[in-house]
Subunit: 308 residues, 5 copies
């Protein structure tokens, strides 16, 4: 997530220099063809670039709107994971501890231990999900698991889903040992279902390639429009048509690239959803609720420019 209101020029150039060079080459070519080959024998009517503009307005609006929707849905899903993690922690802490103070019949497993495990495992779930979505193969999630859990995960490819299974088993243990009743079970299981839903939504956004044809033809049509426009305005603007052609091309390419940067919100580029920062926020909140003494500090902006 970019946080500085002004982009550095270096960033703009870094993103667009390649396309800029190609555009200048294309505009120069179009200028030369129009001036030395065609020599005004034919003229491209002004309605042609205008109709291209209409089509591109559709493509650019479409791509950017859908990209933003994906990005915002991704952000919303992780906002939901934050909320549900807090509710999970709050409910586990309160509703199992309190029950423990009342004398319960069977307590083979120390209730607080089990509750603590379930709360820490939730942090592990968030780390594992983040790692899966970003393809980082990070093992950070192990830090919040005990050895039994680590061993149980060996045979699974989908770590976050496997962690939810473990949560479910412990939830059943809480219930079998009468540490929670059916009503609390309903409440906590509902949260597990919501975690599963959020996980699936993230996978859907990550794994669904945005329809390729829209992006492909947007690019193609921008290139054609630049050439057509440059040839159209040579007569009026002379050699400046190269610059003007590039300028319009720059505008449309930048708009297109804006959309692309939001399209895959878990990619780890500077515009993506700041999972590092979100997960850290939950960690801080949860560890404070556990009255932990070792609370990590919030994620700092990289380069003062963006948060990952």
């Amino acid at each position: 997530m970019l946080i500085k209101p002004d982009l550095r020029l270096s960033r703009v150039i870094r993103i667009t220099w390649r396309v800029d060079l190609w555009m200048i080459a294309l505009c120069t070519g179009a200028y030369l063809v129009e001036t030395y080959v065609v020599r005004g024998s034919i003229h491209i009517p002004g309605s042609i670039p205008a109709l291209f503009g209409t089509a591109l307005a559709f493509f650019i609006g479409f791509n950017n709107n859908q990209a933003y929707s994906r990005w915002w849905e991704a952000r919303t899903v992780w906002g939901g994971l934050v909320n549900d993690s807090r509710s999970w922690t709050r409910n586990i802490l309160t509703y199992t501890k309190a029950t423990q103070t009342a004398t319960q019949p069977v307590q083979e497993i120390p209730a607080e231990d089990l509750a603590l495990r379930m709360i820490r495992r939730n942090l592990s779930f968030l780390h594992a999900l983040k790692s899966t979505l970003r393809n980082t193969n990070s093992q950070d999630y192990q830090a919040y698991l005990n050895q039994a859990d680590q061993k149980a995960l060996i045979h699974y490819t989908n770590i976050p889903a496997a962690l939810l299974d473990l949560q479910s088993q412990d939830l059943q243990t809480l219930r079998d040992t009468s540490q929670i009743d059916g009503f609390t079970f309903l409440t906590l299981n509902e949260l597990l279902v919501r975690f599963c839903d959020s996980m699936g939504k993230c996978e859907r956004i990550k794994n669904t390639v945005f329809p390729v044809t829209y992006l492909y033809f947007t690019r193609i049509f921008i290139w054609i429009m630049i050439a057509v426009l440059t040839m159209d305005i040579v007569e009026e603007a002379g050699i400046w048509s190269i610059g003007l052609g590039w300028l319009i091309g720059f505008v449309f390419h930048v708009t297109h690239l804006n959309g692309l940067s939001l399209m895959n919100p878990f990619d780890g580029n500077p515009a993506c959803v700041p999972l590092d920062s979100i997960v850290r926020t939950v960690e801080i909140n949860v560890l404070q609720m556990l009255k932990s003494s070792q609370i990590p500090s919030p994620i700092e902006a990289a380069n003062g420019e963006y948060i990952l």
Copy 2:
């Protein structure tokens, strides 16, 4: 789902060659009429193609937006089926197995068997639903059913719905034999209702023809605009008006075809929702949770180009 960022030229040609030939014929005709018949006796004002552009901008935006909504809703519904299948498996596995370890009064049916049946039948449900949506008449869903189930399905035309009935009956058996209590029943039945809803949503998208008039008039208006535009620019662009007319026509036809390829997301064309891949993902997840030794490999991209 197309996965390569660049379309092969062969694919573009394969999709558009027919319409391209017709457009060239039409533009040539319009050029000949304007040049040899009309001979400048009348002139088509530039505002006419511009107003056509306005109308087409609406049609194309409308069709594509609604098509994308159908496609994305279809993808979202199947994302929900993935999540609910995982929750179903997790809940059945945990909440019925755990209860079994506690000594239960009556156990006419081995609990694990029943649970296993219900989990496998869920995979069958996904296969049957996929086959119905794609009209493939595939019998893959039989692989996860025992003989009793296979026999029970004979008289039904709507197989996925019939499978949900069987799930419901086994759920009632679990409850009658006290293997689950009312709270777990609520949880599991809620998932059955969600499966039923997702199934119905897929049927709705599949069976609701996109309003025919929008597609029909989009096509008609593109053709008329090409003719009108070509005639309009003959004076300025001469014989090149044929090429320019085709170019604008190509842009609008391609945009229209983009929308069409998303409109029926269960069709089995390369741009559709990748049901094969989604169902396989669930299979892998579920079979790992069952600790099965025979886990299928993920679906490979056809031709390195798209996933079905």
Copy 3:
């Protein structure tokens, strides 16, 4: 719901002939006024029809988008009714029959009979709701009711709502006689609330007139634009301005009429939501679940052209 990808020309003409004649009359009038009365003493600048185009682009986009939303919401609500009807049938069949096999204390009413009544009454509800929405005053819904029910409905104007009351009473009977427990009651009553919501949503769509001013001014502005445009292009296009004026008018009128055909999705016109077909689908599904021997055939397309 229209199902043929191509409209018959006869249908297009049938829908538009009246407006076509008026447009030709108007364009001819505008041509005559411009040619013989005004005689070029004033000229309408091209920016006037262009600004009209901007305003009409808004109106047409707005009307069509909202009309499509109404149509799609109507379709979605009925999709929900289909799903809930299946869940209702499945739940009633499974959860009350199964309880019956266990020995229950009091059984003043044969459980199967009552369950069967509740399932059949649900089909009656769908028929009654369809008849209300289409204003057909059809009595088809009576076929699925026993005499007691038919008598109970005499004093009600809102038949579908009254049928839900009867369902509720029988649900209470099931519970009073201990045939279902509180958890199943929750499940079934939740479905009744959903039926009530869906019914209310249909009434909302049917009874809420689309804001009249939008439709009125769209019509008015199309007519004015045609006149203004025709006068604007007379100089350039001569007598052909009549044809071109009509052509643009045709485009905008057709687009407007497209929206109108979706605006009242329960009207019974060929573009409406195919209630007949949807209700029949549920009937077939439910009667198969009841193992009925008399299963009706699906609704056929009228004229091979559309489904009601």
Copy 4:
């Protein structure tokens, strides 16, 4: 809610005569300035009104879309209130009456009376909410309350919220006296929460002023555009530029006013949500369910033109 497909000309004039006069004055002024002061020494380029058109297209689309959303949300919320009122009545009638037939231990309060009170108080709630939203200060809601209720409301400023408190107290009484069990309590309390949500949504729509800047600048920019356009076309259209300027201004002002009429859907203007009619519909439905002999007739259209 306007119900006649054609607006009366008198209504159009009544709404726009003031703005029409101002526009004619402005256009005349612009014509005089251009003709006698500027005298063609400068010329306003055609791109200026065109760019104004672009900006206004945004403003008008934005305002109208958001206004329609507010209006449709308001209508949807009241649709929900209708459905929930029916469910409330159905549930109270069935689930408390039926329980009463079974012999209950304690019955300090006659069950039917209490149920009847709760059903009638719901009608009171709808009347009170309507009166609050429309600022009519009507006392109609008193008709459905007994004296104890009327007295209890004296100290409250928010009458609808206070009525929900009374419903909640009676619900608790039903439960304390074992007339309903926990499952029915859940069902009924869920409806109370929904009533509270719907009430709050209405207040949100009513109390949230649409961002003033959008409306203000839309007005300002329309006025400027009219002046600029008129001056731009004087050369081509002569004195007719006054009429054409007014015509375009009329189009944009009318579109803007269309949006304004939907923006505050509880205002009581002819385009607003027809609360009188909706509340009356619920009254009729509920009183029929209570088998009342005095059933009011539906609300008639005022002037045959609109329903309030």
Copy 5:
């Protein structure tokens, strides 16, 4: 929230004077360059500003629509907090008081006291959340807490989340002491989960910076367009091109600034969501329900112009 339909000119100038001066400088520069440097040796074709207009139409529409969505979602979330606060108060008051009248086995904590604490703590939650969102560091929330609560909050950075934890503990106490049963627990805990969700949604909107690139390039492109447009129209409009360039620039800048004022709806600027007023409304409602004698008066509009 601005409440006066007309903006004061002083406000418009205060917001735009800086950008106005820069625009006049830029337009003057462009005029001078075109007149004295370029001298008509090249001419900027009219299609260039028109294509810029197309791109800016996208950017401005996009930014404003998303900004409005953020603002409206923020308002909706706080509307939900209002509703849930009322439901919370109503439920706590009714369902715990009523239970108290029945003789309960253990009552270590006076029930009314606890209920009262929970209701007052909810007001504290709203104040704390408001203060967090506005970064005001206000301590108003302390007024509704007893000393034990104040002490418990010392070690927390996220005060609203910590308050929900305290609510959860007291809810468990109510249940441990049998003052509420499982069904009421479900109801009340559901409200706590909703408070947690609403809090998280507010944080999401506050902490998610709107994609910087969209705002940056909107600004850049407006500046370039002004320069290009001014140079384009110098020939036709002479020195007036400075004024016309400024006018168009003013229109686009104002539209952009409109969007910006809604983008961060918790900022405390005059256009933001009126949290002060919303919280006060809840306070009044709740204190009336508690029959408090000290009821604060509603928030007054600042300067008669806006409500915070």
